[in-house]
């Protein structure tokens, strides 16, 4: 028989205001196995934990139930407390009488009754708990960073500087990511390339960093400390060791009609190309869809002009299988498609562009060589209208429900840069709210208004209509004047919502990392563990976790790196002991359980079994505790009930059911 202690927390008034904690103590004390019950103001506090420890020692408790907040909040706290007091940490159960009780019920009598029942269920469960001992698994001292933008580069540099090997996998031909496409950065207006390219070079030159560009993660197996990852290095059709990056091939390539991904499709590139001048590695890629040699078999000009003989049409995709202890996800973002926003005429007029496209237009290396001009006719614009919140803060399926966070600032930046360089150009910004929290951010926005004369109008644009004379008619609200405005513009710039890069969804599935309805990766805790995925060993860096600007991205990338370093610094990891376990005497060896195991944790062996005197060789399921994550799929698939889950056993759950239905 267990000797159980029950500890009821007031949580200040969070619980005690709606639950009669004394009554819970009184009722719990009557439950079988309970030898001690008490309440306290804050059980999670040092004093509260001391009470628990004291009771464990004095009453020789073999199990404890803490009636408090959600186990997701403090289960770990109380387990550690029990462990310090000499009790196996898995002999602790939490009755959630805050989130699931006091916070949602108003009637004290009802809430108290429910709290008693929840306590009773936890007591019934702990009566059947058994001490569990975590196992150990090894840590491969190497990290994988998925995504080679500023987030991935920063994480990789930080991990490498701590002395660990890092591989970066980047799906495009060069690292650099979105930041490489930007012209200037807010709020300091320094040139994006000037601050990014040194970091790219540093990463490429770092002896601990290995970069796989034009590569994708194909398969991930294993678990924290011991991931095995297949990386597909797509065929570049260029021998990177021979290529000198002279660029002759690109110049001579006769197929020049492909839209440049780097310039957001605003101009074209050759079939053999490096995305931009500062690309790392400075090795071109042949776009086999566009290449004449690949399409017709004739051409081969690039090969002829290559003095180094680096062009290799026969090159094949390669698969590298590597082991990692930690994985940092830094897959970044893209802007949403605007197909569903006909009212902004994005698909009808070349002069309606997204802000990211404007970055390329403003950039000296961009399609207009940095001259601000209309893309339809190359004319200098007289009036530019900026539209904020295009697709952000939308509750319908056309856009995204969240605020994209960066648009207010970059729009102010664009407006300011244009007014600075071309004082003759009139700039109007339509906004719903201007959101500029952040150091020097609001000051920046105010400067755009006060010093640069940018006209901010509160109200949304309802319609952009291309006119026969080539101009754009913008119809919008001026909410402060309660007017409907119709104005002519030469260009319209849409502050388009950002969304996680679509590659993150299949990746999340491979990683078994949770993802939210907007495809942002979920953090383990929104406040306390913001850079970790709930899946152990997976860390989140940059916009894959939520919209953020460059400084925040870099900060988070560093934080994710530190978390990864913390993991890599360990020699061994303790594993979750709540794993599945097969009862050898009951196992049929039928393989049903292995069929449903998502981790391949179940294997079979033929073993001599002594079943109450009958000795025979039997095929028995064996669970690998390092692989098993404790989902329990096997336990239900098993017809004989041989497979059970430690910590959530059939009898424990049934005891809870019985206690609730009593």
């Amino acid at each position: 028989m267990q000797r159980i202690g029950v500890f009821v927390c007031h949580c200040g008034s969070n619980i005690a205001a709606t639950v009669d904690v004394k009554k819970v103590v009184e009722m719990a004390a009557r439950e079988p196995g309970v030898v001690h019950a008490e309440d306290y103001q804050y059980m999670c506090s040092e004093a509260g934990q001391a009470k628990i420890a004291a009771a464990i020692a004095e009453k020789k408790l073999t199990g404890i139930v803490v009636c408090s907040c959600s186990p997701r909040m403090h289960e770990a706290t109380f387990r550690k407390c029990a462990e310090r007091a000499g009790l196996n940490p898995y002999m602790v159960e939490i009755a959630n009488i805050r989130e699931h009780c006091s916070w949602i019920h108003k009637n004290m009598e009802e809430a108290t009754e429910k709290a008693v029942i929840l306590a009773r269920a936890a007591i019934a469960k702990v009566n059947l708990n058994a001490p569990l001992k975590p196992g150990e698994s090894r840590v491969t001292k190497r990290a994988l960073v998925i995504g080679g933008g500023i987030a991935g580069i920063q994480s990789a540099l930080d991990i490498a500087d701590a002395g660990y090997e890092v591989d970066i996998v980047e799906k495009t031909p060069s690292i650099g990511g979105r930041m490489a496409q930007l012209d200037k950065t807010f709020p300091t207006l320094d040139c994006s390339a000037c601050i990014l390219t040194p970091k790219m070079v540093e990463a490429a030159a770092h002896e601990k960093i290995n970069i796989y560009t034009y590569s994708e993660v194909e398969k991930i197996s294993g678990f924290v400390g011991d991931f095995t990852v297949d990386i597909r290095k797509k065929a570049r059709s260029i021998d990177a060791n021979k290529c000198t990056g002279c660029g002759a091939c690109q110049e001579k390539c006769p197929s020049k009609k492909s839209l440049s991904e780097f310039n957001r499709g605003l101009n074209t590139r050759s079939a053999i190309y490096t995305p931009f001048a500062q690309a790392i590695p400075n090795v071109p890629v042949i776009d086999r869809e566009a290449c004449i040699k690949f399409k017709t078999g004739k051409c081969g000009i690039c090969s002829k002009v290559c003095a180094a003989g680096a062009v290799d049409y026969e090159q094949k995709d390669e698969i590298f299988t590597e082991k990692y202890g930690a994985i940092v996800v830094a897959t970044g973002f893209d802007t949403i498609k605007l197909d569903k926003y006909d009212e902004y005429a994005y698909n009808q007029s070349k002069d309606v562009i997204t802000s990211l496209e404007l970055e390329r237009v403003m950039n000296a290396a961009g399609p207009t060589k940095g001259h601000l001009e209309r893309l339809s006719d190359g004319k200098h614009p007289e009036h530019i209208v900026f539209v904020q919140c295009v697709g952000s803060r939308c509750s319908d399926e056309r856009g995204k429900p969240y605020c994209s966070k960066i648009c207010c600032m970059y729009t102010a930046k664009h407006a300011m840069l244009i007014r600075d360089k071309y004082p003759d150009v009139k700039v109007t910004v339509f906004y719903i709210d201007v959101r500029t929290p952040g150091k020097n951010f609001d000051e920046f926005y105010r400067r755009a208004v006060e010093e640069y004369g940018v006209n901010y109008i509160k109200g949304q644009v309802g319609k952009v209509a291309p006119q026969p004379d080539g101009s754009l008619l913008v119809q919008a609200s001026d909410l402060l004047d309660n007017k409907q405005i119709k104005m002519k513009a030469d260009m319209v710039v849409l502050a388009t919502a950002i969304e996680p890069d679509p590659s993150v969804r299949p990746l999340a599935t491979m990683l078994t990392a949770s993802i939210d309805t907007n495809n942002f990766l979920t953090e383990a805790h929104p406040k306390l563990r913001p850079v970790e995925s709930p899946t152990a060993g997976i860390f989140l860096s940059g916009v894959c976790q939520g919209p953020k600007d460059i400084p925040e991205t870099v900060a988070q990338a560093g934080a994710a790196a530190v978390k990864a370093i913390g993991l890599l610094a360990k020699d061994k990891l303790t594993t979750n002991p709540c794993t599945a376990k097969a009862d050898e005497l009951l196992c049929n060896g039928c393989s049903t359980c292995a069929n449903v195991c998502p981790y391949g944790a179940i294997s079979y062996e033929v073993k001599l079994i002594n079943d109450h005197g009958v000795r025979e060789d039997r095929r028995i399921a064996v669970v690998n505790n390092a692989l098993c994550q404790g989902c329990g799929a096997c336990t239900v698939a098993c017809p004989s009930g041989a497979m059970d889950l430690q910590g959530f056993s059939n009898r424990q759950i049934i005891a809870e059911v019985d206690a609730i239905c009593r």
Binding site: D583, L585, L586, C587, N588, G589, C590, S591, T592, N595, V596, Y604, D611, E616, R619, A637, P639, S640, G641, A642, D644, N650, R651, I654, A655
Partner: protein, 325 residues
């Protein structure tokens, strides 16, 4: 029948097999028993006629543990069960020598009795190559009963005359399928919830928890049944109320869902005449309709529907649309 005995003797004699698993005469003509035969002499008691309905596949679980090969006679429908057991690693193919025996449908003495015939002393004409009607001798005289009128329900919904796994075949089989397999299930589905409940309440109240259904079922082959183990706090108890046997039968059917070949043994052996196959068939019907046609035991390397899924599977709420009005 003699052909089977002769072949069995040959195989015993040449050492291919060390024992034979088949049927021997019982106390009554309609009660043959499952038996092992270890020698040519023992085979004199061997019998194979219309009453040899017993599915021998399940016995092969134990036979697989014995030294040497066992000769086993399997009817076409029994081979599905054998395949399913093979798929679940419960039988050893190398330990079995399978003779696929012919079948023209198996007989149910209850069907004969249901025709008002009692005091039965002997039944003849039930052999594979026998006449279209069987002769039933009673203390009141002899009666002729058409073979099909005395057939088990399961044979009216026969899965086909093809053996799915065998080493050799002896005897012609007949596809006796002449009824809609799912008709009875559909009829219950069409009832109101109250009628359904009343129907199953009435049927299951007859259950005496003798466990015959479980013990004969080739899919219910766990070393220890959950209803006998302490793992679920559900150890065998006497039935005291209406729920216990419902839970037992639902769970029993659920545990074999996707694995049940619909061999009909459960209903055949139930001493209370409960149509237990109606539970299994309900799952089969749902699986076929929701997840695509599936026949357990069709081959030995299938993935059962309950250990499989597709991303677009129906949500459980579909029961609200498909179920009772």
């Amino acid at each position: 029948m003699q052909e089977l005995i002769n072949r069995a003797k040959e195989l015993l004699a040449d050492g291919t097999v060390v024992r034979v698993l088949g049927w021997r005469k019982g106390d009554m003509d309609y009660n043959p028993e499952v038996a092992y035969f270890n020698s040519a002499e023992e085979l004199d008691n061997f019998v194979y006629d219309g009453f040899c309905g017993a599915n021998l596949s399940k016995y092969m679980i134990e036979a697989s543990k014995l030294e040497g090969k066992t000769l086993v006679f399997l009817k076409p429908c029994d081979t599905y069960s054998f395949n399913q057991l093979l798929c679940e690693h419960r039988v050893d193919r190398d330990k079995a020598y399978i003779i696929g025996v012919g079948c023209r449908g198996k007989l149910d003495i209850e069907k004969v009795k249901a025709q008002g015939i009692s005091g039965i002393t002997a039944v003849s004409g039930t052999e594979l190559d026998g006449p279209d009607s069987i002769k039933v001798s009673t203390i009141y005289g002899d009666f002729d009963v058409a073979y099909t009128d005395a057939m088990l329900e399961r044979c009216h919904v026969c899965k086909g005359k093809e053996h799915k796994i065998y080493d050799e075949l002896i005897g012609e089989s007949k596809d006796t399928h002449d009824m809609d397999r799912m008709a009875a299930v559909a009829a219950i589905e069409a009832m109101s919830p109250t009628e359904k409940f009343a129907y199953f309440q009435a049927e299951l109240s007859k259950c005496i928890r003798c466990n015959a259904c479980r013990n004969v079922c080739p899919a219910c082959s766990c070393r220890k049944c959950v209803f006998d183990s302490t793992k679920f706090d559900s150890q065998q108890k006497a039935n005291v109320d209406s729920f216990e046997e419902k839970m037992f039968h639902i769970i029993r059917a659920f545990h074999v869902a996707g694995r049940c070949t619909d061999c009909g043994e459960c209903s055949r052996v139930c001493p209370q005449g409960i149509p237990l196959h109606l539970f299994n068939r309900k799952f089969i019907k749902d699986i076929d309709e929701l997840y695509g046609k599936y026949q357990a035991g069709e081959t030995a390397d299938q993935r059962a529907p309950l250990v499989n899924f597709t991303f677009g599977d129906a949500e459980p709420s579909i029961v609200n649309e498909r179920g009772s009005k």
